[in-house]
């Protein structure tokens, strides 16, 4: 059951990631919607890994808020088509894909060599629940938590300042 879900989700995730990445697809709105599909698939992986809270956070914040922001800007600026496809530089165009494939090969060989046949241990009932994560957030990770709220305020002010025509 779980492995069927994994296979279906990974096919969907890889296909949607390819639509986002490959410069064959001209329409940027299609890319944004494919990215939303990819984000929801990754949320499905989080559920498979029993991280329920993070999975819902992924759907609400990523697939909800951030995707709406990206689509809003795309439609505001009306840049539906990229003018020329692919990068102009020779190295970027031909060496980039080659290096990306090499990077994947390197990671996969090292991962397979070190984790061959490892299985997940049994998780406790409290693993990945809001209660467990909240406990950690407000005790051990209290200062980072407060710092990140400050960062959000700074980002908000910065975004308003940058996008405003005249102050």
């Amino acid at each position: 059951m779980e492995s069927i879900a994994f296979i279906v989700l990974s096919i969907l995730a890889l296909a949607s990631a390819l639509v986002v990445v490959l410069p064959v697809v001209r329409n940027a709105v299609v890319c944004a919607l494919a990215l939303a599909v990819n984000l929801i698939c990754v949320a499905g992986f989080f559920f498979l890994l029993q991280a329920q809270f993070i999975g819902f956070l992924q759907i609400i914040v990523y697939a909800g808020a951030i995707m709406v922001l990206i689509l809003f800007v795309l439609m505001l600026l009306n840049v539906h088509d990229e003018r020329h496809l692919g990068s102009s530089g020779f190295f970027q165009r031909y060496l980039g894909p080659l290096l990306a494939v090499g990077f994947v090969a390197l990671l996969v060989t090292s991962l397979v060599a070190s984790l061959q046949g490892a299985e997940f241990p049994r998780a406790g009932a409290a693993y990945g629940t809001v209660a467990t994560l909240g406990q950690e957030l407000f005790t051990r990770f209290f200062y980072p938590f407060e710092a990140i709220s400050l960062l959000l305020v700074v980002a908000m002010i910065g975004a308003v300042l940058l996008a405003k025509r005249r102050l």
């Binding site: 779980e2 986002v20 505001l76 299985e119 975004a159």
Partner: protein, 101 residues
Amino acid sequence: MPLGPEKFLILSAVIFALGVLGVLLRRGAISILMSIELMLNGANLAFIAFARQFGQAEGQIYVFFIITLAAAEAAVGLAIVIALFRLGDSTDVDELSLLKW
């Protein structure tokens, strides 16, 4: 076929590399931002898989922080794209060479 960490980690590596490829191949500023989101997602998946393997909540806390950072990054990045579009009527990164000499 029981699920192990290696399948998730390989998948996260592939998603990350696809994001790198998108940054290299795409020329629209917003498309590049979307590819960066893809890379962040690959890293998140690796964090969650390791957290599950070791049965600890730290990995999930880091993903929580990364998602928050991604939201801040997207907001500022898109604001910069809007400002650039006002300046040059284009979001093509090849045409934005104002800071080059």
